[in-house]
Symmetry: C2
Subunit: 226 residues, 2 copies
Amino acid sequence: MDSDVKKISIAVIKRLPRYHRYLGELLQRDVERISSQELSRIMGLTASQIRQDLSNFEEFGQQGYGYRVRDLFEQINKILGLNCTYNCVIIGAGNLGQALANNEDFKKRGFVLKGMFDINPKIVGLKIAGVDVMDIDNLKEFIFTESIDIGVICTPKEAAPDIAKMLCSCKIKGIWNFAPVDLKAPEGVVVENVHLTDSLFTLSYRIQEQKLRERFKKGTAIKNKR
Amino acid sequence: MDSDVKKISIAVIKRLPRYHRYLGELLQRDVERISSQELSRIMGLTASQIRQDLSNFEEFGQQGYGYRVRDLFEQINKILGLNCTYNCVIIGAGNLGQALANNEDFKKRGFVLKGMFDINPKIVGLKIAGVDVMDIDNLKEFIFTESIDIGVICTPKEAAPDIAKMLCSCKIKGIWNFAPVDLKAPEGVVVENVHLTDSLFTLSYRIQEQKLRERFKKGTAIKNKR
């Protein structure tokens, strides 16, 4: 097994897409080198956290000279598997499915949309983002003939487990699930469940916390006035 | 400041929406009590992690009797600020904005959509999910007159910073941002940036890792045969 990949902890892996995003923006602005202090400022992480995370790729940093942006970006790009291309299908061609189909960022990073599937006869037959929306009955065959790697589930909650089962039976490699249910897959198939409510609930928590903080401040201000 | 809220670490807070989801499902199935072992099985966390997380609400667990599902759910619901309602607007009424507008889960949890805004004259004037799509020029006034708490940004990346500035100048409480850029807000405004690519890149990382694992296994199998 590739020891370069194995050494990195899952906590660091979870932060890599963020480094990838910021380093990509620096590259677009032709920045060649960046210090951990400067990266810390723009990313909102501590400089020591950044030094610790990037010590996994220490060959790209040099004491006093900062990190070489392009090399670091390319290394992270490779570790995230973004130097490969992935053939994708979207199941569920409603608003969310269409939003994902039209997202240019995914295409740019090697996620190639090959087809979309739905059960709604009003949608089946349409062309969205340059690909055909087909009837769900054709999904299995399409996965085999087009060597599909990733199935993106944008169906209602109720339909998602059966779709996932079908995808797994076709030996798909990964499932990106937007239905509000935690899908489980057999060994060999990777699932990422996206729960949009999670970030919404974190937002409402933080709004309440902010309210308390303001009330506390006002309380202190009134006390100080007295 | 409410000491009940302050005691809980941000790492635990980040896991609370997940507990909220699973406990909500148990409630729907009329489950009254659950052990940390059983919760561990369905949530895919270790029982010790669950006991540690829920020790923040220990009054609801009793050695040997498990956790009282409804009490625990309601406590977490309150901490996440989900016992309140939030007036929301969506800015950008394209596919993603429409998908969020039609999401029943948000409404059920107290996030009330009051209006949508766009610059596209083909969309302005439509009714989506029961609310009007208005011209962006009316946004500021609408926020004041309708006491809007949360602005959901579903615009292209380029427009997002200006929209965020406008929202902040109206003293909005929170911004839920889907544009692929990390928005920053002044003190007093809470921002949650959602980066869909982050979970997609984690998926591609895990697919590559899985490939390596299979190659390693095959290698071992061939060795064993020899």
